[in-house]
């Protein structure tokens, strides 16, 4: 069985007015099916990319996989353990949480502006009781900062003292602090400049190699995943329309929607 398995994953949002307003205006409930019976599997140590435009449900899936949002139907299992298993004790829940972390889209909103970088990075260690003692935590923070290409003196700074790319590195270091096995990357470079984007993508890749991480990569940009993903799933309005190995998807897309996405991506190509 694959490391991460999503089975018939669905999520419906209730956009209805409050009950009393509905009765007064005699309008029916308004339900939005953001994700509709999506299936995918991710092998350990590989990268699976979910690609879609706005409203495709890709971020909803990301939030369900990390457990921030409960699925309306279907299930997610990580290493055989069902994420939505209500019989889990708090300890078991924490153990499972530790293994799944996330890197967010916005380099500005994803770090608490009032916290020093050192505190941001040591919080997961305390929450998961990974490392005891201030000295040991400081050492680990320094190690994490170094792993993402920052220096240990950065631990005493506040997030606003860093550029967008550096903040994204801090965000990655925070995810690593939990010693996770799966990292969900939700558009981690869409707010970054091209040259910095390349730095962050390369960093993610080398960390994957070093720690055997499994990535679920959420993006709207096919070009970004061409270098990152082993397998790509294309989402359109909550439905997984196509799934192929990266190379095959780019050379022989099957669905019209995928072809449209590929052809409308801006190309720097003067031969044709």
């Amino acid at each position: 069985m694959s490391f991460v398995v999503a089975r018939d994953l669905s999520r419906t949002f209730n956009l209805s007015d409050p009950w009393i307003v509905r009765k007064l205006t005699m309008r029916p409930k308004r339900l939005l099916k953001a994700v509709d019976a999506v299936n995918f599997e991710i092998e350990r140590g590989t990268t699976y990319a979910l690609v879609g435009e706005s409203g495709s449900g890709k971020s909803t899936i990301a939030n369900m996989v990390v457990g921030l949002l409960a699925p309306s139907a279907g299930s997610i299992t990580i290493d055989g353990q069902n994420l939505g298993d209500a019989s889990m004790s708090r300890q078991e829940q924490q153990r499972l949480r530790r293994r799944i972390q996330m890197v967010f889209q916005s380099p500005y909103a994803s770090l608490n502006p009032r916290w020093r970088v050192g505190d941001i990075l040591s919080e997961p260690m305390r929450a998961f009781k990974l490392i005891d003692g201030a000295t040991a935590q400081r050492k680990r923070v320094a190690q994490l900062l170094e792993q993402v290409g920052l220096s240990d003196s950065d631990a005493s700074k506040f997030p606003h003292e860093f550029s967008g790319g550096q903040r994204q590195r801090i965000s990655i270091a925070r995810a690593l602090a939990s010693q996770p096995e799966v990292i969900i990357c939700d558009e981690p470079t869409s707010a970054l400049d091209v040259s910095v984007q390349a730095q962050v993508l390369n960093l993610l890749k080398s960390l994957q190699k070093e720690f055997g991480l499994t990535y679920l990569f959420i993006t709207h940009d096919l070009a970004v995943v061409s270098t990152m993903a082993n397998k790509i799933g294309v989402l359109n309005q909550g439905v997984l329309v196509e799934e192929q190995d990266t190379e095959d998807l780019f050379t022989t897309p099957r669905e019209d929607y995928t072809k449209m996405l590929l052809s409308s991506a801006p190309k720097i190509d003067f031969d044709s």
């Binding site: 939030n63 990390v66 457990g67 921030l68 829940q93 924490q94 949480r97 530790r98 799944i100 972390q101 996330m102 967010f104 889209q105 916005s106 909103a109 994803s110 770090l111 608490n112 502006p113 009032r114 916290w115 919080e123 997961p124 929450a127 998961f128 965000s171 925070r174 939990s178």
Partner: protein, 301 residues
């Protein structure tokens, strides 16, 4: 400290004469209230030191019987008005600061809960706030004051008067804090750093207090300053109406109430000086609060 001196905030402060002057007045008043024991020439509430012969001495004029001179004159019982004002300032400021503190703690907590947890708790808290907003806060304070007095045994009333005053003003001013904090909490909780905190399994209280609270405190500081001016005036109003600080522990409002009895008999100073002090205090706190608001958060305007 060096970070503060280098900040844009401090720079803006040094460039604003209004802010400097108003803060200076506030600091001066707070210091003289705290040090009243040492500054005041007499203890105005030590009945033994009062000399009825000194009654109604005009400012800077020697008393016709005793020949003593008082900077701001005396009241009907020969009490030195300057000393009375210093001690009155102390009561007014104490009540104001404590009441704002109470309103702030209550409002911030309720605002955090309403904004972060949402649902029926949010509805309950905010409807309560709506109801309270439909009454003038001075009425609420009087209501609470009246109920508390009714519940207290007679012998405790005098003793508890200040506490009751603080409670009644504090409970009538929490709404502004709660509304503002709820609003900023609802913005903050959508940010990804809160998601990150949820991902490591923190409970709602840890997220509210450790993560969200520091990020919603900016506007709270501004509101606290502006509310302080309101609370000082509310205290003075209550005391003026005779339902506030007792005569044994008079605040500026009590002094004004006492003073107005003598206004038309020509002893104008007994009213004027406490009133001017109250005006200067409330005005400078308010001006400083306005400046804080404009500097820290122009959107609150």
């Amino acid at each position: 400290m060096r970070r503060f001196l280098n900040s844009d905030f401090f720079y803006a402060f040094t460039r604003s004469p209004l802010a400097i002057v108003s803060l200076l007045v506030v600091v001066l008043m707070v210091l003289s209230a705290i040090l009243a024991n040492f500054i005041a020439p007499t203890n105005p509430f030590d009945a033994a030191s009062l000399n009825l012969m000194n009654g109604f001495t005009a400012p800077m004029e020697p008393n016709m019987f005793t020949g003593e001179t008082f900077l701001l004159g005396t009241d009907d019982q020969g009490r030195d008005l300057f000393s009375a004002i210093l001690f009155g300032l102390r009561v007014s400021l104490f009540v104001g600061v404590m009441a704002v503190g109470l309103a702030m703690v209550l409002g911030v907590l309720l605002g955090l809960i309403a904004g972060y947890l949402g649902g029926w708790l949010d509805t309950l808290i905010m409807r309560l706030a709506d109801i309270q907003m439909t009454f003038p806060s001075i009425l609420i304070a009087m209501l609470i004051f009246g109920v508390a007095r009714g519940l207290l045994p007679a012998e405790l009333r005098e003793e508890m008067a200040i506490t009751v005053l603080i409670l009644s003003i504090g409970l009538s001013e929490w709404v502004t804090f709660a509304r503002t904090v709820r609003g900023s909490t609802m913005v903050e909780k959508e940010k990804e750093y809160v998601s990150a905190a949820r991902l490591i399994g923190l409970n709602p209280w840890q997220i509210m207090l450790r993560h969200i609270l520091p990020n919603v405190l900016g506007p709270v500081l501004v509101i606290a300053t502006i509310t302080l001016a309101l609370a000082i005036i509310a205290e003075a109003t209550l005391s003026f109406l005779g339902v506030g600080a007792p005569r044994t522990e008079p605040s500026l409002g009590t002094l004004i109430r006492v003073g107005q009895d003598f206004l038309f008999s020509g002893e104008w100073w007994i009213l004027l000086f406490p009133a001017l002090t109250l005006l200067a205090l409330a005005l400078s706190v308010n001006l400083f609060g306005d400046w804080l608001r404009d500097t820290l958060n122009p959107r609150l305007r």
